[in-house]
Subunit: 336 residues, 3 copies
């Protein structure tokens, strides 16, 4: 339990209302009780604010509400700080190094590591301090893993890949499988050995059931601080700059480069061998087939400016009417 005053101090916010109320948990506006704090960052939920039973609500500006207000510059970030304070991040049971894991003698494992049953750590692997390796994880030959990494159950990392510090990889994700590279020759397809690896930089989190291919020649790179969703497909030799948000089910084909601080939404497809600039935003389901300069927002297939796309794609519904109108005009014209 923290008082609202303590929470306000923690996030650097102002209080409107009773600073002494005690808050034990975070809850939604809809289901919060008097001992909960809630938040409003999405304007869609403004109505829910009027009827909330929360003891306090984090908001971006003073407003009327039946709860105490914690007014901050960035409600979503303050919400995060308070969730961390009140609930904390996941704790991992310290089982040490399980004798039921399969660990090669030549593997070097740092201090404070947790390696669970049925994990496999192959020859030449180097793992830093405080790693948490869940059951069923496979870490291939000569993989290098930094400090404070978490590999959730059944993560697979093929040989030679490198993870920085504070990397989190969720369950059933595959890192470093062979790039999709086959050369056709006389009606058959031949496999090209994929001699690059995957380099995942510091502070990256990768979702569940995702797959990142190793490079054909050079490493596939996931830049510092990137956050990848679930069921993502990253091609061979793709290079992603720092601090990008890559949301679920997107696919980026081989050798494409992405700048820093991009936001690429769900189910986007990006062809190979192109260059996406910095601070680019790509809307969900877009199909990107050309380079995109810095700072552009795009949408649609093929992707165009998001503003144009919004108008253009909502006009598709009018196509049958437009076609008829053109025919009518043509007929009238002919008849004159």
């Amino acid at each position: 339990m923290k008082t609202l005053a303590e929470l306000a101090q923690h996030v650097g916010g102002k209080i409107k209302g009773n600073a002494d109320i005690e808050i034990g948990a975070v809850a939604t506006l809809e289901n919060a009780t008097a001992a909960d704090i809630s938040f409003l960052s999405n304007p869609k939920y403004t109505n829910a604010l009027q009827t909330t039973k929360a003891g306090a609500v984090i908001v971006g500006k003073d407003t009327d509400a039946p709860a105490a207000l914690l007014i901050v510059e960035d409600p979503y970030y303050a919400f995060l700080q308070i969730v961390v304070l009140l609930h904390g991040h996941r704790q991992h049971k310290n089982v040490g190094i399980s004798p039921k894991a399969g660990i090669a003698k030549t593997a070097k494992i740092g201090t404070g590591c947790i390696i669970n049953d049925f994990a496999t750590i192959c020859d030449g692997v180097v793992i830093g301090d405080n790693a948490v390796i869940y059951p069923g994880v496979f870490v291939g030959d000569n993989v290098k893993i930094g400090n404070n990494c978490i590999l959730y159950p059944n993560t697979v990392i093929y040989e030679g890949c490198r993870l920085g510090n504070n990397v989190i990889i969720h369950a059933n994700t595959t890192i470093g499988k062979d790039g999709y590279g086959f050369a056709p020759h006389k009606d058959k397809l031949y496999k090209i050995p994929q001699i690059g690896g995957v380099a995942i930089e510091d502070d990256v989190e990768i979702g569940g059931n995702s797959c990142i291919q190793r490079g054909t020649i050079e490493d596939t790179i996931i830049g510092t601080g990137c956050k990848l969703g679930d069921l993502i497909d990253i091609g061979h030799g793709v290079k992603i700059g720092p601090h990008c948000l890559l949301i679920g089910q997107l696919a980026i084909a081989g050798s494409t480069t992405i700048g820093h601080h991009c936001v690429i939404a769900a189910q986007v497809g990006i062809v190979g061998h192109i260059k996406i600039g910095n601070l680019v935003k790509i809307a969900a389901q877009a199909g990107v087939i050309n380079d995109i300069p810095d700072g552009q927002n795009v949408a649609g297939t093929p992707a165009i400016s998001a503003l144009n796309a919004k108008r253009a794609y909502s006009t598709i519904e009018d196509l049958p009417k437009m076609k008829k109108a053109i025919r009518r005009l043509e007929k009238k014209f002919e008849n004159e």
Copy 2:
């Protein structure tokens, strides 16, 4: 072997032809033999009915065919009943509780459970009766599992999630990984602890290689009787009503709610924070960005009425001609 008469009695159907023929298996119209029963529910296969060598065919109405007919109201459901009768559901070898599984002492496991090698059952887990846990499955701390559940190999269930009775989860699927929640702050992205769980109600089946995120604050819910396909991505806090069909590779973003008896086809994307009503049908590859009222059929991106979408999207092909026609009309007009 069953006689056609026995099958007819089992499904409540009428026979046209020899009721005494013996049927041992279900087969396709194309490859059936005299000891097989086939079925016609998709009219696409009406031609195949004329040349089938099946001993009998399940149909919805009397018709000419070179086989005995089993005439029922709902041929697809009768087919199901007969497959179950003749072939049965998968049997699971009763290995009991394998000593090579890793089972926490505090886990409570019901009677008749099968837990295979290399499965991990963590602290505080409660599993009902007759569960089948295949190798490589991970069941995290305090997960609750009802009766008669089947977890296929390498399924991963993160801590605190709850499964009802008769739940089936296919291989390499991930339940309860962290919701995709990151708050940007001063050019970096910070992870929001995801304190909700996942609640999967009775009679749900989830396909392979799918991923269901836990809720940020409140549980993600998969309603009673829902059937999910493969490679599905369900966001944090999504709530899906009972008896929905959710087909492969669809994605539903965080906090969206879906009503009951919806059918959402393959590769659909649905944005977060919207409300899909009951009995809604969404066509494959649609992109849904707004609420959908009960009973609507939609298609396209952005999704519109399925009827309009069919005409509109098939008109896209005519766009270049339409553009030229407009130019021609404009020129003629100017020239007058």
Copy 3:
């Protein structure tokens, strides 16, 4: 190290420049050094050829470059041959049959097989010679596997499926999970037992995190030499002919047949019960709802000729202008 002359002989090419230089590795045009060979097959990289520091470059025709040239008919295939020569395919550590694997007594395993820790081989399985089974792999009852197959970590193969020779399956992929088949009856959905299997023919490679459903009645078939990408979803009873390229995240619904030598790009969706001919090319993100004859190239949703689609889809951006133009014309006409 090989001399350029040796490489030229290996691939049957001509040399322009110094045939005696020694080459140790393959590298990109951008980062190659004097001891590296690079290649130019994608014309996008023609500029990089002019500034490369590679000792030699594989090209399709004579050109000016600051490196020796190895001129061949098919640069991509020659590149493949040279990567294989200089770097080789992945080597698998020969751990023999691990005592920590779970192998049924009734399983028959050929000579030279490698079966790692925590792999499960069930009753009645038959595995040919020289198989490599990585940790966490599950091979269900009565699965038949040919010679020289590689199953990467956490691959799951359900009972009764059949793999030919030289089949490679990447990590976290699922073969033979139940087809998505449910019959609605009185507001509930009932599971149809899926009595078909999956037959994967010789020389097939399947990517990571993919899912191939078993057939409802007849086998799902992946033809000889097919190469499948990551996160692919193949429905029940789909039959794919030989030597197809099926790229990541595509989905093919139940009972559809695909001919030979097709190329189906990323994120394509194909409905069930249709027939795709031979040598068909389907562009990324296309939605295919009708049969496609041999040799066609298609794109778009619904898929149309790729040539028409290119023009048509790039015209979507002009829709708002076209709509306005039509209105203007209609007004002018009325005013006359």
